[in-house]
């Protein structure tokens, strides 16, 4: 979906707050990320489905929460009444904690998974080769994708072929998509934004990983 999350190149957000460090380093935010990932509540299509005004008004943690609650409630994994009951209980009593339920026999496997680097398949079939010029297709996919709008229609050069992957699921909980080569494509900034020397930006290179079906001959 070409939603608000696809913000590469958008102006108007102001300066970067370079001192903003802490998020995710407060324990509960990392814990929320763990909970959201383990439960399957979090997904990128789910985050991207947050309405644009809410997306921009929400912190990172709020988006993970909103996405997870929506998915887990919608799928009937948890119930509204449960959330409300626990919110009241946990807000009213500062000593209250969530219930504890362990399964220690599963932990080593989880830790092994977390500390194993996922391997990327080699691209045994690839339409384009390193050095080829390619154009990013014009498109407007309804589901989740990984093709930022700012490269649409632009011509770049294949820098590397890191491997082959399935396209990501288009919908929360959906199946993965077509298995195909992924290319790192290098663009000259002038082919994306024009000549910005007058704004203090000499030409630079922009490299984006793009699935084969996002690309066509130039």
């Amino acid at each position: 979906m070409d939603g608000i999350h696809d913000m590469g190149g958008m102006a108007g957000f102001g300066p970067v707050d370079v001192s903003a460090e802490a998020s995710g380093h407060e324990g509960w935010e990392a814990r929320l990320q763990a909970t959201a990932l383990l439960s399957g509540g979090m997904s990128r299509p789910g985050i991207e489905a947050i309405p644009p005004a809410e997306y921009l008004a929400s912190s990172y943690a709020e988006k993970w929460l909103a996405c997870s609650e929506h998915r887990l409630l919608g799928d009937g994994v948890i119930e509204r009444e449960q959330l409300d009951r626990w919110r009241t209980a946990l807000a009213d009593d500062p000593n209250r904690l969530p219930p504890r339920d362990d399964a220690p026999e599963a932990v080593p496997g989880l830790v092994a998974m977390l500390t194993t680097t996922p391997s990327m398949a080699e691209a045994t079939e690839s339409r384009f080769a390193v050095g080829d010029r390619v154009r990013v297709r014009r498109m407007r996919p309804e589901g989740h994708h990984r093709c930022p709008r700012y490269v649409r229609g632009a011509v770049g050069v294949i820098d590397r072929i890191p491997g082959a992957e399935h396209q990501p699921p288009a919908e929360p909980g959906g199946d993965v998509g077509h298995f195909e080569a992924v290319y790192t494509v290098q663009f000259d900034s002038r082919d994306l934004w024009g000549d910005q020397r007058d704004e203090g930006e000499p030409p630079f290179d922009l490299l984006v990983d793009l699935w084969e079906s996002y690309l066509e001959d130039p």
């Binding site: 102006a11 509960w28 119930e79 500062p94 680097t117 704004e199 290179d205 984006v208």
Partner: protein
């Protein structure tokens, strides 16, 4: 799994177990009050555990990995090794996953490509669509990396963004911006500063800050 692992295992082992469980949430003994958002996050965990969907010790272990097994100290070790061992550096550039594994650094969100800063090239990493980041080498990202201005502007006006971080590059340095749109995670091998010839690998690791491995800082000699 890590050659510096002992320190860390020691750090977090004592936090585990029932008495210390849920240590990430605030209780009256904590310095901060619970925010409404924190209560919402706790309620989500409570509902999921109550339903048996997730186990508390799984959440503990996952959180622990995010906070302690991953982090920029690993990235700094990798950089320091690359600066002092040319063969390792070559392996790192050719096959980062294998080279990182030599130092016991591995994990999810860790399918790494290392890109090298030189006199002529400066690399900058961003994820415009999301906030993808090389967890094993750098841990969880800072707020600014996830912020809208950074995601929106790094791909279109990198020098303007870098100047907000205090980084001014010569006009003839070519910037390469990497937008992490697939499962590959980009990691910057910063340039070794002059005047550090006498430093040991551990001393070098100590001067490498996280931002230099994202591309929003240069490493300075101590």
């Amino acid at each position: 799994m890590s050659d510096h692992g002992h320190d860390h295992d020691h750090d977090h082992d004592h936090d585990h177990g029932d008495e210390h469980g849920h240590r990430h949430y605030d209780t009256p003994g904590s310095r901060r009050a619970r925010s409404a958002l924190e209560v919402r996050a706790m309620a989500l965990e409570a509902a999921l555990v109550e339903k048996g969907v997730v186990k508390t010790d799984a959440i503990d272990a996952f959180t622990d990995a995010l906070e302690h097994r991953f982090g920029p100290h690993h990235g700094a070790r990798v950089v320091a090794r690359a600066w002092t061992d040319p063969d390792f550096k070559q392996r790192l550039l050719d096959d980062a996953n294998a080279a990182c594994a030599e130092l016991g650094v591995a994990g999810v969100e860790g399918n790494i490509r290392v890109v090298e800063n030189t006199d002529d090239v400066h690399n900058l990493v961003v994820c415009t669509l999301c906030s993808c980041y090389p967890w094993p080498l750098l841990g969880l990202p800072p707020i600014w990396y996830k912020s809208f201005p950074y995601r929106a502007r790094a791909v279109a006006e990198p020098r303007s963004v870098l100047s907000e971080f205090g980084v001014e590059l010569d006009d003839d340095v070519r910037i390469k911006v990497w937008d992490s749109s697939s499962e590959v995670r980009y990691f910057v091998l910063p340039a070794r500063p002059d005047g550090t010839d006498e430093l040991s690998e551990d001393e070098l690791a100590a001067i490498i800050d996280r931002n230099s491995m994202i591309g929003t800082a240069l490493v300075a000699a101590p």
